[in-house]
């Protein structure tokens, strides 16, 4: 949501889930801190770097402590260093909250973070590995 600040972005799913503003803000800041982007809390997504933006997105995804996270090319716009950082944080946070991550990627290095891999080629799944 480019209209909202990073902190508000993270708090939004909590607010939509019916949590009070202060509590949502507190949790949002906690998530941002956990992902190392607390310093951009007051900035808008358009004003932060791609890596920071994606970390904010991860924080927003984790904010409601979901059981499953669906991620579509989470590292697509990032350089390899930032991509690895984001993936590390995502997997770490998912393990901490016991959430499953379903992730779509073209990048074999990103795929390597997964516990189970499904290759889809021309619309058909290929031999499952891992």
């Amino acid at each position: 949501m480019p209209e909202l600040t990073c902190a508000e972005n993270v708090a939004l799913p909590l607010r939509l889930a019916g949590i009070r503003r202060r509590e949502a803000q507190r949790r949002a800041l906690g998530q941002l801190e956990r992902l190392g982007v607390a310093d951009v809390a007051g900035q808008r997504p358009g004003e932060v770097s791609g890596g920071q933006g994606q970390r904010v997105a991860v924080a927003r995804a984790l904010a409601t402590e979901p059981k499953a996270i669906f991620a579509d090319e989470p590292t697509g716009a990032l350089d390899s260093l930032n991509g690895e950082q984001v993936m590390g944080l995502l997997t770490q946070a998912a393990r901490e909250t016991s959430a499953a991550v379903v992730l779509v990627t073209h990048d074999a290095r990103v795929a390597a973070y997964s516990d189970r891999e499904v290759i889809v080629r021309d619309g058909r799944t290929q031999a499952p590995a891992g």
Partner: protein, 802 residues
């Protein structure tokens, strides 16, 4: 790949397990919180978002301002009518001149296109009544003028002509309470000694006891009722249509936002409420802008005159109930409209990315509204009694028909656009855009077409009404305009008037004669209150031949002329019933004649009837009451060439000089058409000889005084609504251009020359070089190269321009 491309599905807590989100209610926060979120999203996002709110606010505000004007209309009209009534004459119980009475004659002059009205007055005694807004009556040869007329007299351009036509000493100013509007040109002239004011002689001359007499209005004719309904419907509907279109400005940005909100876990109902919150902000901004525009317009309204109508600022008071209704209805209907319209839209988390071609619009239900509307309107017959039911039927029918245009149009646009083929790039882009999403274009066009369809309907009804209420009369066969000039004093003889007309050098040909209102000395049928009236015209045979079809004429002859209306039939005004009877002296005393007179038929004074100039029964004591004359037995009947020459036509040899002296010089002039200047010059030349001469141009004869009022209201309303349409189209276009940025970014990416896109540089590269390129839909892998080029161009442009 999305910028923040992580999708979550919050899980519902298991039974018995506390919510993992920590006390959250399934289904989300209250509706108020979602409305507030929508409002927050609308306002957040920096200058772009504010611009969008400002655009919507302006678009809605224009409509709100006009609706507020509509709510103030009753107060404006009441105040105007009240002040007009306050200066109308009161002649109840006048029996003759007294200390408190006054002679009054209407004064109307057109000076270089400025209509000046007022009264010529002469008090009978020391304590005459004062007209409203006047502290002291002007003496003979003096005048009291309205502020606007004072400005006109002092102006450089038309001031000298105005001063020529009003050569009186200015001794005061009329206050606002005596004027219908701040820019009204109004004057009270103290009659100079030589001016004769006699009752019933020249139109609008009367003896009064005061001002503020009751004004009796007849029940409004059916045609005028129809006309008013049409005017109201036609003027109000486009306002509604444009306001509705403005509320939905920024639809694409909203779709993107709603998809994002859905992505973050909102259900469709919540998303609709979020959207409604945004619409609420727009509507509130619109109400604020509308109120501000209205207040600004109200403060300035006194400076403007539209079609002769001007309004005091103090009169513009919106009705509290209606005003509150407008200010409440706009936000409420904006929210309702948004929620209802979004019900049919599936907002999916990826709704923007996977935009499909919308389903084809269906025709059948769109035909229902116009068909029902036409079914209501067509059976109506203007000859029927137009009660409340019929009025409602007409109004409803018109509203439905016009609304039908708006629902039919999207289908028509879609059907039309589908058939459009290839062409140049710009054409292709435009056509493809319309084929994929024509909603916003259709909305703007729909509002315009309502206005146009309404205007056409209005024109048709108006043309019919004009035929009924305005007689475009007295044009000669070769198209000359005609003027009637009535001298103000009998001292001015006919040759002086003829000289003044020929001296003007306008090429006008005039028939000059002495004319006056005469009435029978003896009452009709023994009723002392009823006397026979007629027009007495005295002129030589050459002139009389032009006024009536005379077989033979010699000095000493008298003719009784019947009116034979031109083009008898459809255009005969009801005010001119056919001449039926010529009454001689014996019949005059017969009570049966009274019945004929009461039936509305014209009755002519025939042989043996004693006539006197003026109307002795209305105002006894007029000095001319002694000038008597009896219609000779040999008076021949003839047909007049114009209805106004109906009466008694006499040659000078047939009428005593004393009677002729009491008549006034009158001229009926044919003026070459098409030159306002000619008419002005003629008016000026006549004013030099007789400033208070009553000069009227026979362009049109209006048969109901309310028709011109409605016509003026229509003109003013049309100007305002057209202004709204223009301004709204401008705002809509700017808003649509803003939404087209994506297309422009694509064009940049494909190498379109910068000059072509100069307008877009600030929008595209103002702040964040890549924001626009990455945010505008470059989400498929194949296009990322182009996105990179877009970014590179933006960045390069930014660094090169600093």
């Amino acid at each position: 790949m999305t910028a923040l491309g992580v999708t979550t599905r919050p899980s519902a807590p298991a039974p018995g397990e506390p919510s993992r989100a920590g006390g959250g209610r399934p289904g989300g926060a209250g509706p108020l919180a979602q409305l507030l979120l929508g409002a927050r999203l609308m306002l957040a996002g920096g200058p772009t978002a504010w611009l969008r709110v400002a655009m919507t606010g302006l678009g809605v505000g224009l409509g709100v301002a006009l609706l507020l004007v509509a709510t103030a209309l009753p107060a404006i009209l009441d105040a105007r009518d009240g002040r007009r009534e306050a200066r109308s004459w009161d002649w109840a119980g006048v029996s003759g001149p007294s200390d408190t009475t006054m002679m009054l004659r209407g004064f109307h002059a057109e000076i270089r296109g400025h209509q000046v009205d007022g009264y010529v007055l002469r008090p009978d005694g020391a304590h005459p009544p004062l007209p409203p807004g006047v502290s002291a009556l002007p003496g003979p040869g003096e005048m009291v003028v309205s502020p606007a007329l004072a400005r006109l007299l002092g102006s450089a351009g038309d001031g000298s002509e105005a001063a020529r036509r009003l050569p009186y000493e200015r001794v005061g100013t009329i206050g606002g309470e005596g004027l219908s509007g701040p820019n009204e040109l109004y004057v009270y002239i103290g009659a100079p000694a030589e001016t004769e004011l006699r009752t019933a002689e020249v139109s609008e001359t009367i003896r009064i006891v005061g001002f503020g007499g009751p004004v009796n209005f007849m029940p409004m004719p059916v045609e005028l009722v129809i006309l008013m309904i049409v005017v109201v419907v036609v003027l109000l509907l486009p306002i509604g249509a444009f306001t509705a279109a403005a509320v939905r400005f920024g639809g694409e940005a909203r779709d993107r936002q709603l998809a994002a909100v859905r992505l973050l876990g909102a259900d469709p109902a919540m998303a609709r409420l979020v959207a409604a919150g945004g619409a609420l902000v727009s509507a509130l901004a619109g109400c604020a802008a509308g109120a501000a525009l209205f207040a600004a317009g109200r403060a300035l309204v006194g400076h403007f005159t539209l079609f002769g109508a001007s309004v005091f600022t103090a009169d513009v008071r919106p009705s509290p109930v209606l005003g509150a209704l407008v200010l409440a209805a706009v936000p409420v209907s904006a929210v309702a409209l948004t929620v209802i319209l979004l019900r049919r839209v599936v907002i999916e988390p990826l709704g923007v990315v996977r935009r499909a071609v919308p389903a084809r619009r269906r025709l059948w239900w769109r035909l229902v509204l116009p068909v029902v509307g036409l079914a209501l309107v067509l059976p109506l017959d203007a000859n029927d009694d137009f009660g409340l039911m019929r009025q409602a039927q007409l109004g409803t029918g018109m509203v439905l028909t016009l609304l039908g245009v708006t629902v039919l149009l999207p289908w028509a646009v879609e059907a039309g656009v589908r058939r459009l083929g290839a062409g140049p790039t710009s054409w292709q882009l435009a056509v493809r855009r319309l084929q994929l999403d024509n909603a916003s274009a259709v909305r703007a066009v729909a509002a315009v077409s309502v206005a146009v369809a309404g205007a056409i309907a209005l024109q048709m009804v108006f043309a019919v009404a004009e035929k009924a209420f305005v007689q475009r009369a007295v044009l000669t066969d070769d198209g000359l305009a005609r003027m009637l000039i009535e001298g103000s004093t009998s001292g001015l003889d006919t040759s002086t008037l003829a000289q003044a007309i020929s001296a003007a050098g306008t090429g006008a040909t005039a028939r000059v004669f002495a004319q006056g209102y005469v009435s029978s000395v003896d009452p009709v049928g023994g009723d002392p209150q009823r006397r026979l009236g007629a027009t007495l015209i005295v002129a030589d045979c050459a002139t009389l031949r032009e006024l009536a079809d005379l077989a033979a004429c010699a000095d000493g002859d008298v003719f009784l002329t019947h009116s034979v209306p031109k083009g008898a039939g459809a255009n005969v005004p009801p005010a001119a019933p056919p001449v039926t009877a010529v009454v001689d002296a014996a019949q005059l005393a017969d009570p049966a004649t009274l019945a004929v007179l009461s039936s509305g038929s014209a009755v002519l004074a025939g042989p043996g009837v004693r006539l006197v100039v003026g109307d002795p029964s209305a105002t006894p004591g007029d000095p001319v009451a002694e000038s008597q004359w009896t219609v000779p037995p040999g008076a021949a009947e003839a047909a007049s060439t114009e209805p106004m020459f109906q009466g008694v036509l006499a040659t000078p040899g047939a009428v005593p000089a004393k009677v002729v002296d009491a008549l006034r010089p009158t001229a009926f002039a044919d003026v070459p058409p098409g030159a306002a200047d000619v008419i002005d010059r003629l008016r000026g030349a006549i004013a030099d000889a007789d400033p208070l001469a009553n000069v009227s141009t026979y362009g049109e004869v209006v048969l109901d005084p309310r028709f011109p009022q409605i016509r003026t209201a229509l003109y003013v309303g049309t100007v305002l609504v057209l202004g709204l349409i223009g301004a709204s189209l401008l705002v809509t276009t700017v808003e649509q251009l803003r939404e087209r940025r994506r297309v422009l970014a694509v064009l940049v990416a494909f190498g379109t020359r910068r000059g072509t896109l100069a307008l877009w540089r600030s929008l595209c590269c103002g702040r964040q070089p890549c924001q626009c390129c990455s945010a505008w839909g470059w989400r498929s892998g194949s296009a990322s190269g182009s996105a990179a080029r877009c970014c590179a161009w933006c960045t390069g442009h930014r660094s090169s321009t600093g």
